[in-house]
Symmetry: C2
Subunit: 351 residues, 2 copies
Amino acid sequence: MSGRNNGEDGPRVRFSDPQIEMAHGAGGKATRRLIEGLIVPLLHNSVLARMEDAAILSVGDQQIALTADAFVVSPICFPGGSIGELAVNGTVNDLAVVGARPTALLGTLIVEAGMPGDVLRAVIEAMARAAEAAGVAIVGGDTKVVEHGKADGLYITTAGVGLVDARLKLGAGRVAVGDQVILSGPIGDHGITILLARGELDLEADLKSDTRSVWPFVEALAGAVPQGIKWMRDPTRGGVASSLNELAREVRLGIVLSEEAIPLRAEVRGACEILGLDPLHIANEGQFLAVVAPEATAAALSALHAVPGGEGAVVIGEVREQPARGVLSRSSYGGTRMVDMLVGDPLPRIC
Amino acid sequence: MSGRNNGEDGPRVRFSDPQIEMAHGAGGKATRRLIEGLIVPLLHNSVLARMEDAAILSVGDQQIALTADAFVVSPICFPGGSIGELAVNGTVNDLAVVGARPTALLGTLIVEAGMPGDVLRAVIEAMARAAEAAGVAIVGGDTKVVEHGKADGLYITTAGVGLVDARLKLGAGRVAVGDQVILSGPIGDHGITILLARGELDLEADLKSDTRSVWPFVEALAGAVPQGIKWMRDPTRGGVASSLNELAREVRLGIVLSEEAIPLRAEVRGACEILGLDPLHIANEGQFLAVVAPEATAAALSALHAVPGGEGAVVIGEVREQPARGVLSRSSYGGTRMVDMLVGDPLPRIC
């Protein structure tokens, strides 16, 4: 139930699609229609209606964050990782971007009968390694087996629990004109890696998934500029474009990106050009976006650059009055283009 | 990752099966081999090694219970409910039997492309109704879509969070010789209902799933005999036989059942006789087992009988020294039989 609310006075989204299509799972407009038009109205409650990456609940005098994720990536193993790392890091990151230190995970396996025992072993080993690296315990789960042909090897679903870092005061409501948009590093590595790993395209590139925990970066920000960080998101399905469009809609402001500032590997740029894809729509599994008060931006970047793997963090844009509820990308040559949410599903089962 | 630990000095279970078979998901011996022989050793941590239905974590001065479940029941809709009710109640019940009041759920959908929109709507409506009846909020989740043929309509996975009722002190370590085994009501309704709903057998019966929240019963016990309740379990996959065998192994004592005391509808008895199934192996989705101190048994039964739907709660057996680590069933005619865990998977995808 990813996807976000579009503000109480925004247009009502209705779901009347006759059947579920791949696009409903892609993280773009069809997903939004499914979530906001069907699931949220039926499961109405105030926590769900906020539609953050994780729900926040009070337990005694502490706040805990809860999140759930499903992983159906195909193929199961790819350069840089497997569905196992993805399941752990994806869950950890959903907690991290709401400002919660990841504490415990539950991992549930839906296995297709006939799955080789050693592949399952390798995936579980990958989960264990990723959990250790991220400092979380896998405390439980469930395992179901379905007949051969009724799943595609292995699906993993997870739930994660984290403790909200009391230093941080995150909330889209704090986002204001002039705030800076920070991106942690190059985009598109994960999505393009998966696409190439399928071997259906006559393309090769020395590229691997960026799957990793982003909690160390969030922790560094919480230490350096706790009040300056206003909003965070990990741009997975639907990419940077979908995450920022959701923010723009919610806060009814515009986001203006500097096209050339967005870090992008040559391999990803090249693959996107050949395939007609916008890198801003491609999924990432180890990057995050942060909206930061202008006066905190320098300190935030310094803190990120000091964390191994955070050297590439940069400002990619700014919050403006216009285009209200939209995202605009501006090139240094003076050209501009509107950056829309992902439509359809050009990259199915990317995570 | 259901299944339980078999005690530190029990025989080590090893997993060397070349591939995953349906039996690995059935909740019996093969599931135990997969969980204890592969998953737990790889994800080693003290919380997981306890292998209760839910993990218990401390948050400040409170204890929270966490659980995860996957639901792959086929067919999706059946007499008495659907995968929607099952997902909510199954999760709620895993929390209830560790003594935790269910508080929040996360629900994750893996949908096969081509799923009719109105079927999905009906399932989500069922989740909403069941959550309201159980007094829990569905606070988040995730939705993924896989290609037609890569799932079987819809799989739901859940995570649940509950607050441990401080009045209860549950733990297999407290179970002692002389304790009484209480069962909440008739067994086998859910499993046999699903089997008949598949329409593959030339059998009909006026039967429906027993899916419901068991928290009202646990709450009644917590109020009436908080110290007297020592252990609880909801006997789902693998049935009463597997739950009690797991307890017997863990506490290294025997459990002796009175065959005639076990409540069983005539329809379930008849179907089991025709199909050669032991009702003690059939899954339940709205019943629970409780081990109670002898002096608390009468008060526990009174408390249960006062809750609507609890009128059928009865003592079905007793904890004895022998058969150590085993379960014995005794009939009033003097016959006895050992009741083993479920072997193989006579009833696949029952939940």
